[in-house]
């Protein structure tokens, strides 16, 4: 077994490097809120590519992916499926949002929607839904970091303590440098994670079974149900196609409207960069394949880990693997958790202040004060997510699916904002509220669902119906503004 001291030492060095890299760019951004939040609209293709890639290539992928492949088999393939088409809507939405963002000075998604409809309460509702969605997503990242340190320290660092330490580091660098710091650390971590994923994904099956083919042949003999879609549910029974398919569907629809991703439309230097990032995005999906291989390598591995999501670090610590390699893995998984976590907490706090306090409530505060408030909120959101992580006992993937149910409710509003001139603010507002409420009810009371589908689907349905019906029954307070807005969105 590799020595925990060396493993932790290597990871520690890595964290310090990230911290230094993450702090460096802070000198180059202007001291305005637009500088802190949108990086002065200057991100190029390389940074955009990795910032988007690494943001999604998170603890969810690194631990949740193998964890699901290990415990639920083919159910994990849903992750691959949704990522394939998930970013495609952004190809169309992104450039439109960038145009209105440049013209009207929006830096968040909610500013854009409430700006289009001249309705501040929309920004408030979106701020609340965003933060509600971000907390479980962040909790997932924190728990992931905790799992890694727990496994590689041989249980010496409890999950709550490990997650706490790692996210203190994240808090420090987000507080220091905002989004550009986030960008550069992600480029560095993105490359590192890709190398690591392929390295381990091919090495573990080779070490344990001789080859990838041998491994699957063995699993097909002993547990063939693992290799057939839609895989297994939490209890180990076959999952159903309805939930599998709607998990894919809801994730595809929700993916592009995650506020921290959508905000990239406002940070990109030009529209072509947005389009190219979307075109290149499926290349990131290929890096999920080795993570499934890792999970499957664990299926016949003895002894079993304490929780399925710990399978990867657990295997590493129970094999004869050089400590330095395990240390690098540990660093990579932490990197995965941190690089997603930082972008999320940054987005959640920016949204809370700019959309919740400034836009919705209408409190006038200067840019410097906004930056200060964003920093306070960074700390508050992290604490909320931390407490959720400590209290939550289920799987990491389930946390993400929960977040998606909330976030997917933004899509009808975004479509109406950027494409539908006739849409009215009150319709968008109540569509979102109705959709979120229905999703929440069906999420809490799973048995009330008429069919076993992802709760977000029902919310989306109600959301869309309310949006269309109320729009048709109401009239815009400023048809001129609506016309101009759609015109600007459609003019390259």
């Amino acid at each position: 077994m590799p020595s925990p001291i060396v493993v932790l030492g290597v990871s520690g060095v890595y964290l310090v490097v990230c911290l230094v890299l993450g702090m460096m760019p802070s000198r180059r951004v202007s001291g305005t809120a637009a500088g802190y939040v949108a990086g002065d609209r200057s991100l190029g293709l390389l940074v955009m590519y990795f910032i988007t890639g690494a943001t999604i290539f998170s603890a969810f992928a690194f631990l949740g992916g193998p964890g699901w492949a290990y415990s639920k088999g083919a159910a994990a393939f849903y992750i691959l499926a949704y990522g394939t088409l998930g970013f495609v809507p952004f190809y169309f939405l992104g450039p439109r949002a960038a145009r209105v963002g440049r013209t009207f000075g929006f830096v968040t998604q909610a500013e854009m929607v409430s700006g289009r409809f001249g309705k501040r309460s929309i920004a408030g509702v979106m701020a609340v839904i965003s933060i509600v969605a971000f907390v479980p997503y962040l909790a997932l990242q924190i728990k992931g970091a905790g799992y890694v340190l727990f496994a590689v320290s041989d249980g010496w660092i409890p999950i709550a303590v490990g997650g706490g330490i790692v996210y203190t580091v994240v808090a420090i660098y987000v507080l220091r440098s905002g989004v550009l710091g986030v960008g550069w650390t992600n480029t560095f971590q993105g490359i590192f994670m890709m190398l690591l994923a392929w390295g381990l994904g091919l090495y573990l099956p080779y070490r344990l079974y001789g080859s990838v083919g041998e491994m699957f042949a063995r699993i097909a003999e002993v547990r063939p149900e693992m290799l057939l879609a839609p895989g297994l549910d939490a209890a180990g029974n076959p999952w159903n196609w309805g939930e599998y398919s709607t998990a894919v569907l809801v994730s595809i629809i929700g993916f592009s409207v995650w506020p921290h991703l959508f905000m990239k439309a406002f940070t990109a230097r030009d529209e072509r960069i947005i389009r190219r990032t979307v075109v290149l995005y499926p290349t990131f999906q290929i890096f999920l394949v080795p993570l499934f291989l890792i999970g499957f390598a664990g299926v016949l591995f003895e002894p079993a880990p304490a929780a399925p999501d710990q399978i990867l670090p657990h295997m590493l610590m129970n094999m004869e693997i050089p400590a330095i390699l395990v240390g690098l893995f540990c660093a990579g998984a932490l990197a995965a958790s941190m690089s997603s976590g930082d972008a999320m907490v940054h987005a959640a706090a920016s949204i809370g202040v700019r959309d919740g306090i400034v836009e919705a409530i209408g409190i006038k505060i200067d840019e410097a004060r906004q930056r200060t408030y964003i920093r306070y909120l960074v700390v508050v959101v992290l604490i909320a997510a931390y407490l959720t992580a400590v209290a939550y006992k289920g799987s990491l993937v389930q946390l993400l699916l929960t977040s998606y149910g909330a976030i997917v409710q933004f899509m009808p509003a975004i479509l109406a904002t950027l494409y539908w001139r006739r849409a009215t603010g009150v319709a968008v507002l109540w569509g979102m509220i109705g959709g979120a409420a229905v999703t929440a009810v069906f999420f809490v009371f799973q048995d009330l669902r008429p069919f076993p589908l992802h709760a977000g689907v029902y919310g989306l349905l109600v959301n869309g119906i309310l949006l269309v019906a109320i729009t048709l029954a109401t009239r815009s307070d400023s048809p001129q503004r609506d016309r101009d807005f759609i015109e600007i969105a459609g003019t390259p």
């Binding site: 495609v88 083919g213 389009r275 190219r276 290929i286």
Partner: protein, 72 residues
């Protein structure tokens, strides 16, 4: 035209990765593709196809843009 083709592709791709396409055509262990069960290779195949479709769609758009025919 490219918009319609791409939309058709996207719908087919979605159907192929979920029910019913996945259940009917992609959901078996054999044949193995590069050692990987067919159910996984099927989804990976759609990832690759989607990348190609996006590249085609994007390049076609850039070309028509430089011809000055592009409306959006």
């Amino acid at each position: 035209m490219r918009h319609v083709l791409f939309a058709v592709y996207a719908v087919i791709c979605l159907g192929a990765m979920t029910w019913p396409g996945y259940a009917w055509f992609g959901n078996s262990i054999e044949p193995y593709v590069l050692g990987v069960p067919f159910s996984l290779a099927w989804v990976v195949g759609w990832v690759v196809l989607t990348f190609l479709a996006l590249v085609l769609y994007h390049v076609a758009g850039e070309l028509s843009e430089s011809d000055g025919r592009e409306e959006d």
